[in-house]
């Protein structure tokens, strides 16, 4: 493939200092630990993993809400760490984020029109208020809301409608990339499909790329071209969605897939599951060696000592000793 990635993340590390008292031992959460991946133009990259594995931190580091301690993020060929002035502003316009909680992420004291207009004003996109207003009406139509919703307040809308307002706001500045952090998790099943279809249609029409974060593997598989699986801050497997879903390599991916309840009684009742022992270890004291070694049914002595490095297997990335030769 000759096409260049729109987003290229290399060896990214984002750590948090969570030391409690003045005299206590320094405690660091390695929320994102040495993560690398590419997203191509017009592509959706799905990021899955259980609570606390670092998905939101990764997303927030990409939109520059957090600074990484190490590694690089290149967007359209430029390292975003060094962006300044006009270039930085352009990046903040091109890279948008949609948040998980449609209830908390909209300012309750602003009207829907003001909420959607705000980023246009910040980024100086239109000259007159009339132009902005016109664009807001168009955006409301795109996300399936009505023009007369413009003067209403978020409280008057349902969860799915609020998520649409968040999407309209993200689209207001014509971004090239949207980080969608669990945009459907808080919504009812019948409303989730509305938002997923909306995101897919907008992508087709406007040629956007998405980083789509979720813990629901079924929806991620549906919307994504590629999937990355995270565990305790690490990317443990990555590849085309069909490959990852139908032929998982990493033992954690296999367990995660087997845990999905399939909405089909014959299949669900016959399916025997790989039940993982125990829970996800604390990210403050992660296990030595492979992060999954405390729960992995295939762990060996070596796994507990040595961290597996990402390797390529059949066009896919996996970090597991089982696949090293």
């Amino acid at each position: 493939m000759s096409e260049k990635p729109i987003l290229s993340v290399r060896n990214l590390k984002t750590y948090f200092d969570v030391t409690k008292g003045l005299f206590s031992k320094k405690q660091i959460v390695k929320a994102v630990d040495d993560v690398s991946f590419d997203v191509m133009p017009n592509e959706t990259f799905g990021l899955v993993g259980e609570s606390g594995c670092g998905k939101t931190t990764l997303g927030r580091t990409i939109v520059k809400l957090y600074d990484p301690v190490e590694g690089s993020i290149e967007f359209m060929g430029k390292d975003i760490a060094n962006l300044k002035g006009a270039e930085l502003k352009a990046y903040r316009k091109d890279m948008q984020m949609i948040f998980q909680d449609p209830y908390a992420s909209l300012n309750p004291r602003m009207t829907v029109g003001e909420i959607i207009k705000e980023p246009m004003i910040i980024h100086n996109i239109y000259n007159t208020d009339a132009e902005r207003e016109e664009r807001v009406v168009e955006l409301l139509r795109i996300v399936g809301l009505k023009p007369d919703h413009i003067r209403r307040y978020p409280a008057e809308f349902s969860g799915g409608q609020r998520q649409r307002i968040g999407i309209a706001r993200a689209l207001a500045v014509n971004p090239k990339f949207i980080v969608c952090d669990e945009p459907i998790s808080a919504l009812d099943v019948s409303i989730q499909a509305q938002v997923i279809n909306l995101l897919e249609n907008i992508q087709k029409e406007m040629g956007l790329s998405y980083l789509f974060i979720a813990h629901d593997l079924s929806m991620v598989k549906h919307i994504s071209d590629k999937i990355g699986v995270m565990y305790l801050g690490h990317m443990v497997e990555m590849g085309k969605s069909d490959d990852v879903y139908h032929r998982p390599l990493h033992p954690y991916t296999t367990a995660l897939l087997s845990a999905i309840p399939i909405p089909d009684p014959d299949v669900a009742k016959a399916k025997s599951r790989i039940l993982l022992e125990g829970e996800i270890p604390s990210p403050i004291n992660p296990p030595t060696g492979c992060p999954f070694s405390t729960r992995c049914p295939k762990a060996t002595e070596r796994c507990r000592k040595e961290m597996p490095q990402p390797i390529e297997v059949g066009g896919r990335m996996v970090a597991c000793h089982l696949y090293e030769r």
Partner: protein
């Protein structure tokens, strides 16, 4: 006689804005040892239906039912002499023959009591055993629900447990009671997928080994497919369709049930199948529609649907649906 029988249950809440009609004439039953799933969107009345039955309704709630019986006993609130006798009777039932597993396990755990003490207390309430034996039994139960190093954990407090472990303690308490009915209200919604799988497996085992009946409230069709023998679909305060797992999944009759099945992604199926969302949003139960609750979102709505509540059509002994499309007049048209 079924273990639980509910007939024409109605629950209203008085609020500043007016009366919220949360449960609107619900009828169903649960047999000994079976698992019934209750599925529906947020606000469709799933939780309030159960709270009305087990006597845990908020103070502004009013219950009306033609009949509620559990294990042969009449437990309809209006058939008790006063509120106090009702509450005492229900408290007794909830501690003995019913167990509850809710989304937030802290509803049922005492935050300032050691996990072990909470377990032994339950055990000693239900079995004539010494404290030492109860302690042993508690350890065994903790082991059974998969709590690692129970000898150490038994002396800890709930805050030292993760959400998944707390939920397992609730299940351990349920195990100690040997209840006839387990009511689980979104027990795994707050948990991660791999932990959810563990908890569901435990509930399934509990059902199979002790013969307890289960009512599983969830919005996750995958969960009911895995666990339930029968499924009730709720919408706008009503049960719009009820049937066996196979009837609901493979032969759905109600447009809402069909819609629900079309808008979930089944990862085992072909990828490019486009999801078919149900347009619109659920009705406001302050002013529910006069006719069918689904009328504003239904693509097949007819004139009659706006005016009259659909009658129930029975397809088999187990399968029934409240929709005018199934009515003989519409079918023969």
């Amino acid at each position: 006689m079924a273990l639980l029988e509910v007939e024409n249950l109605k629950t209203d809440f008085t609020t500043d804005q007016g009366m919220v009609h949360a449960v609107r004439d619900v009828t169903f039953s649960v047999e000994q040892g079976e698992a019934l799933g209750i599925v529906g969107e947020s606000g469709s009345g799933k939780s309030q239906t159960m709270y009305s039955i087990i006597g845990l309704l908020a103070d502004n709630g009013i219950v009306n039912a033609k009949r509620i019986t559990f294990d042969g006993k009449d437990i309809a609130p209006e058939n008790f002499v006063n509120k106090k006798t009702y509450e005492d009777a229900m408290k007794d039932i909830r501690g003995n023959s019913m167990a509850m597993i809710f989304q937030d396990p802290m509803t049922f755990l005492n935050p300032i009591m050691k996990i072990g003490d909470q377990l032994t207390e339950t055990i000693m309430n239900h079995n004539k055993v010494s404290e030492k034996d109860a302690h042993e039994l508690a350890l065994e139960l903790m082991r059974k629900v998969g709590i690692p190093s129970p000898e150490k954990r038994i002396n800890q407090y709930p805050f030292e447990f993760t959400g998944g472990m707390r939920q397992r303690i609730i299940i351990a308490i349920a195990l100690a009671n040997n209840p006839k009915l387990i009511i689980a209200d979104e027990p795994t919604t707050a948990l991660d997928v791999t932990i959810q799988a563990q908890v569901l497996e435990l509930i399934d085992e509990l059902k199979k080994n002790s013969g307890s009946a289960v009512i599983m409230i969830t919005h996750d069709l995958g969960v009911v497919a895995k666990l339930c023998d029968r499924i009730a679909i709720m919408y706008g305060g009503k049960i719009v369709e009820i049937g066996t797992d196979k009837e609901i999944f493979y032969d759905p009759k109600h447009p809402y049930t069909k819609g629900l099945l079309n808008c979930i992604a089944n990862p085992d199926e072909d990828d490019d199948k486009e999801l078919e969302p149900i347009p619109g949003s659920p009705p406001d139960l302050l002013n529910p529609p006069k006719g069918c609750p689904f009328v504003d979102r239904c693509t097949e709505a007819m004139r009659v649907c706006k005016e009259y509540q659909p009658e129930v059509t029975k397809f088999t002994e187990t399968h029934q649906c409240a929709c005018w499309l199934c009515h003989e007049k519409a079918v023969t048209k």
